[in-house]
Symmetry: C2
Subunit: 387 residues, 2 copies
């Protein structure tokens, strides 16, 4: 195991009906609230009204920043910062999924930042101050509800950049699985694949002797495999939605990567795909990740054998390590397919024409990953395997 | 899964050499430090000097409270509070194991408490304020380095009581596995059993559908089983000491019991044993826990079957659930025995004479546990099974 530091101060408030506590929890941090939301879905499911009721019961004064879209924009962050400064906002509350939460975090840090908010993303170092952020989660996927990361896009500069700072850890996150009952099947699947991908990025590592972290990662993947079948059959199965939601939060709150190298190449490779073709992140990951697994296998089969055996119970008898590892990767593909996820770039009508361009962009800040360090040619090969 | 809240703000600084950061981390909270230590072992292993050096490099003014013993006393807490008030201490640093850490926490809360520190333990409710506490850990066992619990004894009233408050969460804990190299074999074993017992108290539960929590608990137990063999062979195996230390911290920081009922009857039953016969907590747990398992099996075998299969790979073919469950319990006993832990009260020359008295005291505040709610007769039977 390698040396590490771990710090995560977000309070998780989990379970049916806990949204009603949004008012009292928010009031701990002041009277003036900026409520950040996305499109109409929080209104359609009645969540908006419940949150507003809770705020009213706690005598809070509410201002709003709404219309946050997937791949949230810096323009919305600027708008939020302006409201916060003008109205002297005490706390920013995100009601939504990753995009809404990331916007709220960037706004909260932007309020304390001396300069245009986009500079927080382009400067050396990380912002180290923010006003408090609270979350009411509506989608199990990005895990933004329990980490200090925020990813924001700038349409003018065509950049999508991230900040990672303890200052942006939500002070509380309310996770009510019932709020995910109405997430459409497609987005439920993309969320599950995103969560699995977060686990893979931390699980497949050359760091030796990390049995606790590994077993925790395997536990999350096995839970996702089991619950994905249940939830696609019955989207209102409480325990299944609850276990998927908990998986999403625990997958990327820092626990799974303590004391080990993590990778994140596949996320960077997918990012170029989403950026150019505007496909869902989870769909891109479903296509790419098993191919990344096959491609990096040359760097060592041990971890993939462990994965095949511990997650999929692959029978090892008479098989080489390479065969066992490939059987585990094949099972991963089968699982993704069974949920109706895309398996090839062709499923999105994506051909060869921009692969070179994407590969070049993916490594423009340097080579990717750690399990196998990937140069442009490696990334291109993974795209080609995915055609 | 049941509703839950989870909050744990302790920063974990883990790994070889991290003790050198004790000065800078402490200086974040002020200039005046109360250093709390136990007997001579921190001096013998050179840790005291390294911490003092780190403090000196950070220009800290250090006052000391030393001589903390196992089952730490309220008299020492009072002494510490007096020093803090007189010297206007900014932060309390514990260098030691559970007793030292618990004392430091009680001192830190006592400074902010209006009244004699013992009243914090006897009053309704929990203290909600404390000055900061930092930790340099020397023993993998109690998990006090990442929770808000402190257990203190009062010799005058013959009470041993606990507080549990987020106010007592250490602001940082430095965990260097090398500092446990010199822990004697016996105490290494007691520590491992204490950690395993913490996991059992949270794992064996009737709450349905907690696959993530369960897999994490199983992962910790499997790690302990594997690493206990390594560490008893080679006490200076870094990875083995590191995995046991991480297991101890993760076993009782709140993660394993999220969303489920926990039990803690065995700890209460052992507590009476230690109190009367002054035997080590880990030794008492080794004797009692497998008997608790057998005794409560009448309330349901499912979780014990899961334990037997997932932790010990018990072959289920041709066996009844009861047989599978008992095989898992037997394996637990064998594991404890293989480490040289005691298996019967007779190993400590404890006979029948005080069992009644202990059983009565164990339930004096009400019945124990949740997997099976235990009355006096139940506790007595578990003691008798242990003779």
């Amino acid at each position: 195991m390698e040396n590490f530091t771990f710090y995560n101060s977000t309070e998780i408030i989990f379970g049916k009906g806990e949204v009603n506590r949004a008012g009292e929890k928010t009031a701990d941090y002041g009277k003036k609230v900026l409520l950040v939301t996305g499109g109409g879905s929080v209104k359609r499911i009645g969540l908006y009204d419940r949150v507003m009721n809770a705020f009213e019961n706690a005598d809070l004064e509410v201002f709003e920043l709404t219309g946050i879209e997937p791949n949230p924009r810096i323009s919305k962050v600027r708008e939020g910062v302006d409201i916060c400064l003008e109205k002297e906002i005490d706390i920013v509350i995100a009601v939504g999924g990753g995009s809404v939460i990331d916007t709220a975090k960037a706004v909260a840090a932007g309020v304390c930042f001396d300069g245009d908010p986009w500079e927080m993303f382009t400067m050396e170092g990380e912002p180290d101050e923010a006003i408090p952020v609270g979350v009411v989660l509506t989608l199990a996927a990005t895990g933004s509800e329990m980490n200090g990361n925020a990813v924001i896009s700038n349409l003018e500069t065509e950049q999508k950049l991230a900040i990672h700072t303890p200052a942006c850890l939500p002070v509380f996150s309310i996770l009510d699985p019932v709020n995910t009952y109405t997430v459409p099947k497609e987005h439920t699947v993309y969320g599950i694949i995103d969560i699995a991908a977060h686990v893979f990025e931390q699980y497949f590592s050359h760091t030796e002797s990390t049995p606790i972290q590994d077993s925790w990662a395997e536990g999350i993947i096995k839970t996702l495999i089991k619950e994905s079948e249940v939830v696609l059959e019955n989207p209102e199965d409480y325990n299944s939605r609850a276990n998927i939601m908990l998986a999403g939060t625990m997958a990327i709150n820092g626990l799974l990567s303590i004391g080990k190298d993590d990778d994140w190449a596949s996320h960077a490779i997918e990012h170029e795909l989403s950026a150019i073709y505007d496909i869902p992140h989870g769909g891109g990951l479903a296509i790419l990740f098993p191919n990344w697994m096959k491609y990096v296998l040359s760097e060592g089969t041990d971890k993939f054998v462990q994965y095949a055996v511990n997650v999929f119970n692959i029978d090892t008898k008479g098989k080489s390590d390479q065969e066992i590892a490939l059987a585990g990767i094949e099972k991963t593909r089968e699982w993704f397919n069974s949920m109706g996820a895309p398996a090839r770039l062709a499923d999105y009508d994506i051909g060869e024409d921009k692969l070179e361009e994407m590969a070049a962009k993916a490594v423009s800040r340097g080579p990717l990953g750690s399990y196998k360090v990937l140069e442009k040619e490696d990334v291109l090969e993974i795209y080609r395997m995915s055609l």
